[in-house]
């Protein structure tokens, strides 16, 4: 009796559970298939991280050009500076319109198959595509942050003798940045999910990793739900961080 129990313990499990166990083994353990998910996750995080940095850099520049133009152009004397500002403002507007007016997956494919057709560094292509895309949205976030700063701050800086760029750098941007930090963190969360289209250009990100497992095992259930669960955990985790950040920022004011 005891001998037969130990010999075939699996028999005691309900059928669906033992099926699940087999499925789990097939999808994740066999041939170390879990590594597709692990390496994919790492790729997703890397792409998102560098794209966010690029996006913030581009967004800050675009926002500064836009708000400098809107604030000063009517008072500027004719000259080279005015012309340059007008040209850069027009370029930034074009950038914002094109990026926001086209699907990110199309932008990714254009970047990969046309602009960087000769590049073999897929991650770099993805970082550029998602960074350039994110920059257009970050620009609007930062611009709203700049607009929210009282003009008296600007005048106080200028009245001390700081020039326009110094006033922006030391006084306006740090405050604007602080005001929009939660919105920027949200942009990061959105981007994590957005990078799931990286597979379109053959990048082994988290989503693609799950899909590869599915195509090997012909068992879609576990790999795809595992992928979904990992995204969910990351997003919930970062959302929690954002709300803690928001609370901290609110408390630090007054």
């Amino acid at each position: 009796m005891i001998a037969s129990l130990t010999a075939k313990p699996v028999c005691l499990l309900p059928k669906w559970l033992s099926d699940l166990q087999d499925d789990f083994y097939l999808n994740f353990i066999k041939e170390d298939r879990y590594l597709y998910l692990l390496r994919g996750l790492w790729m997703t995080l890397k792409i998102t991280f560098f794209a966010v940095i690029l996006g913030i850099a581009l967004g800050v520049i675009a926002a500064i050009v836009r708000s400098t133009h809107d604030k000063n152009i009517s008072e500027m004397r004719p000259g080279l500076g005015r012309v340059l500002l007008k040209i850069s403002n027009a370029l930034v507007k074009l950038y914002l319109t094109v990026i926001r007016g086209t699907p990110v997956v199309v932008q990714l494919m254009i970047t990969y198959y046309i602009i960087f057709a000769s590049s073999t560094n897929q991650m770099l292509v993805a970082v550029l595509a998602f960074g350039i895309n994110s920059g257009a949205y970050v620009a609007e976030i930062i611009r709203s942050g700049i607009m929210s700063i009282d003009n008296g701050q600007f005048e106080a800086g200028r009245s001390l003798g700081l020039n326009y760029i110094q006033t922006m750098t030391y006084i306006i941007i740090p405050q604007a940045f602080k005001n929009v930090l939660p919105a920027l963190a949200n942009e990061f969360i959105v981007l994590i999910k957005e990078t799931s289209i990286s597979g379109y250009v053959g990048i082994m990100d988290l989503t693609r990793g799950g899909d590869v497992i599915r195509s090997r095992t012909f068992s879609p259930f576990l790999p795809l739900f595992a992928v979904a669960l990992i995204y969910l955990i990351i997003v919930v985790f970062f959302s929690k961080l954002v709300s803690i950040l928001e609370r901290r920022l609110r408390n630090s004011e007054r």
């Binding site: 200028r158 009245s159 004011e253």
Partner: protein, 265 residues
């Protein structure tokens, strides 16, 4: 105290002697175009501000006092006339306005301290970036000035932790950190609770005694009378009457000034 203040400020670099002309304003105009027509915020202002003088500007709301004061450091671009500061025409396109503003401090009604910086950083930012002062030098000077306004214990506080009167005293010493040759005040006590007005006016009085050149827009007639060396009464963008505090307050000639004084005194 005023002698000490003088020592710290040490604005002796300028060659202009007390009593000589520091700022010369000639036929200054600022016109705004609006749908209803043209608004003449400034309509031909001519006056000189001499070194060591405390010029007080009074007048009803909308008379152009702020516009005049803010034109002096070109926070408002005049549409006509000239302003000469220490011999330089600052309204000419070739003048370096950022350099000139270093010598013209400004104190605002709403203080405009930088909320993301400590008091110390508020005070040392401009001297370090513009005068290339070392951090210890700038901080030593800031601390000296903070002692003068009895706020040295708040050096590492943030603006939001201070009262209105304290904020305005900080705003004044922040401007002083650049060792300006003139200080412009636009209603420095109007946003303060009444019990805090005195502490700010006291600092301004000390400054005046130390020989600082000041142009002050204010509704504090007591201050104008006691500290002002000259009073300008403005209305509708023009100087209507100008004179010593005594002439303006005890012997006003223009009837608009008389009715203004009847309302505010």
């Amino acid at each position: 105290m005023s002698a000490d203040m003088n020592e710290i400020l040490d604005s002796s670099k300028s060659d202009i002697l007390p009593g000589e002309i520091l700022i010369s304003v000639s036929d200054l105009a600022k016109h705004y175009k609006s749908k209803a027509g043209e608004i003449r915020a400034l309509d031909g202002i001519t006056t000189d501000i001499c070194k060591g003088e405390v010029l007080v500007i009074i007048g009803p709301s909308g008379s152009g006092k702020s516009t005049f004061l803010r034109s002096l450091n070109l926070l408002e671009r005049p549409t006509g006339g000239t302003i000469t500061f220490e011999g330089v025409d600052i309204t000419s396109p070739s003048s370096d306005i950022n350099k000139l503003r270093q010598k013209m401090g400004m104190v605002f009604q709403h203080f405009n301290l930088f909320p993301h910086l400590t008091i110390m950083d508020n005070m040392t930012l401009a001297p370090r970036k513009l005068l290339k002062m070392s951090k210890p030098d700038a901080e030593a000077k800031a601390l000296e000035l903070l002692k003068k306004v009895a706020l040295e214990d708040r050096a590492y506080a943030y603006p939001s932790q201070l009262s209105g009167g304290q904020k305005q005293r900080i705003a004044i010493v922040r401007a002083l950190c650049m060792s300006p040759d003139v200080l412009l005040f636009d209603e420095p006590t109007s946003a303060l609770d009444p019990e805090m007005v005195g502490e700010v006016l006291d600092v301004m009085k000390d400054l005046a005694k130390s020989g600082m050149t000041m142009a002050v827009v204010t509704h504090e007639m007591g201050f104008a009378r006691e500290v002002g060396t000259r009073v300008i009464f403005m209305d509708e963008g023009k100087i209507i009457e100008e004179g010593t505090p005594d002439e303006i307050f005890t012997n006003p000639k223009n009837e608009r000034l008389q009715s203004f004084l009847a309302k505010v005194l």
